[in-house]
């Protein structure tokens, strides 16, 4: 029992320390973004690597999410008879909620974990120390371009994903449920979608910030060889997932207040 409490206490202190160092990382990243002096080539390279190469997985995920949401709201519709709900329910869920958060999760798995592993390897092989010794600020050189690329890519990918999600929903209606896809679109039109679309993008930008900050932080604090890198990647995806849902709740809450 005492041991359990002790380990719980240690975990708690560790998490507090982690939250602190995440904030420091976020602050230093933002500071290195102004004035914008990062080099454009590096940024484009990262945008390609991060954004373009994540496109297939994002499109597939979004299509499936659209399908799942339509199937799900069907069961509700069948019980209540509110057919308009197929389009509205699925559309709102995809745009404001599941689109951004599931795309965010997939993106964190592909890009965040990758960044943590990459930075972790640079730390383990002393390449980060070497940057410091060459008077190059690792935050400005390694973290800032990734931050910009990750946030931009995730927002753009969410736009694409939203579209694919709706297409997926319409296809599910048409082929799986034998509902005319026009009913789906009519349901969509019934509700104000623009607001939800925008809140979805705000969320995507925030998730991008979370993913970039967490992965850079875990990557740059690796210690202990191959196992250390594995541990960092693991910690990174877990913390990111937690961060995504906390940010999601905060934004949803603030959004409904105003």
């Amino acid at each position: 029992m005492k041991m359990l409490l002790a380990s719980f206490g240690r975990d708690f202190l560790d998490s507090l320390a982690r939250v602190g160092s995440l904030n420091v990382m976020f602050y230093r990243t933002l500071r290195s973004l102004f004035p914008p002096r990062y080099d454009r080539e590096e940024l484009f390279r990262q945008l390609h690597r991060i954004g373009v190469r994540s496109l297939p997985i994002v499109i597939l995920t979004a299509l499936l999410v659209g399908v799942i949401m339509v199937l799900q709201s069907m069961t509700y519709v069948r019980k209540t008879g509110a057919t308009g709900f197929v389009g509205a329910g699925a559309g709102l869920a995809v745009l404001s909620e599941l689109g951004p958060s599931l795309i965010g999760l997939m993106f964190s798995g592909r890009v965040g974990a990758n960044a943590a592993a990459e930075l972790g390897n640079m730390v383990v092989s002393e390449q980060v120390e070497a940057l410091r010794a060459l008077a190059i600020d690792p935050i400005r050189f390694l973290v800032a371009p990734r931050f910009v690329a990750i946030v931009t890519s995730l927002v753009l990918l969410t736009v694409v994903g939203d579209l694919c999600g709706l297409v997926g929903g319409a296809m599910a209606c048409h082929w799986l449920l034998d509902i005319d896809w026009r009913t789906f679109v009519a349901g969509l039109m019934e509700v104000e979608l623009l607001d939800d679309f925008i809140v979805g993008l705000v969320k995507a930008a925030a998730f991008g910030g979370v993913i970039s900050t967490v992965s850079s932080n875990y990557g740059l604090t690796v210690s202990g060889g191959a196992q250390g890198v594995g541990r960092a990647v693991n910690g990174c995806v877990v913390t990111t997932a937690l961060g995504i849902f906390i940010a999601d709740y905060v934004i949803t809450w603030v959004w409904f207040q105003i």
Partner: protein, 250 residues
């Protein structure tokens, strides 16, 4: 010849990792424009010692000075300024393996000269050319033998045009010819008036190049003085090191 002013000084530096004390009250001066060698058995903390000079490590106690800067109290931003003048080349070649050799050098140029990528690249190639390394420009670092990796690391550091250069075991593990090539570069730098601090247990290099020798042993500076004095010192530890005797304190 008058005594040259020190560029860098360590005063009473202590450093431990956990319960393992690596340096105890180490005091050291680095004279300007001279070539100082640091020698000592493996694992005595030579690398740890010099990392204090560029602020990669901070002492538990004591002071580190570079000219009139108190290095151990600088923050990261101020350290970046220091590291532009005083460059440390790592013991292991720490090239960025996602970039080609030329890009590795160009990176430094781009950051510190504030030039466009294309200009930086051509300056980098010129630097490689001067060191006779043009043939490596497009190779990826992991493909190169370790001697060439070390040469490239040196080239990358020189792209900063440092006033003080710290080399951590530049010739260890190289064949005699590659070692000779590195030494030739060091000699050239010495003639250009760059202050040099070289960690090495390569006695040949020491004979060829050293003005001063610092011998580190058992957490302390055992000897600091001229090169001749190092080889002739009447100290059993130095004697054992210089003549590679099996029996003794080391």
């Amino acid at each position: 010849m008058s005594e040259p002013t020190p560029v860098a000084r360590l005063i009473g530096v202590d450093k431990s990792f956990g319960s393992h004390t690596v340096l105890a009250a180490v005091t050291l001066e680095l004279p300007a424009g001279r070539c100082t060698f640091v020698a000592g058995p493996s694992g005595t903390g030579k690398s740890v010692l010099v990392r204090h000079l560029v602020g990669l490590l901070r002492p538990d106690a004591g002071e580190v000075w570079y000219r009139d800067l108190r290095v151990d109290q600088l923050d990261e931003q101020a350290l970046l300024v220091l590291r532009r003048k005083c460059v440390y080349v790592f013991q292991h070649p720490t090239l960025f393996d996602s970039m080609s050799v030329a890009e590795n050098v160009a990176l430094v140029v781009k950051y510190h000269k504030g030039v466009k990528a294309r200009v930086a690249e051509s300056l980098a190639r010129a630097q490689l050319e001067r060191m006779g390394l043009s043939r490596l420009a497009d190779a990826r670092p992991p493909e190169l033998p370790s001697g060439e990796q070390k040469l490239v690391s040196l080239a990358r550091a020189l792209a900063l045009e440092p006033e003080t250069l710290i080399l951590d075991e530049p010739t260890t593990g190289l064949d005699p010819y590659a070692a000779f090539e590195i030494d030739a570069h060091v000699r050239q730098l010495k003639e250009q008036g760059v202050t040099l601090l070289v960690i090495s247990h390569d006695l040949q290099s020491i004979r060829r190049l050293a003005d001063e020798v610092v011998f580190l042993f058992d957490r302390q500076v055992r000897y600091q003085g001229g090169m001749q004095g190092f080889f002739e010192a009447n100290d059993p530890v130095l004697d054992q090191f210089v003549h590679a005797r099996v029996h003794g304190a080391i």
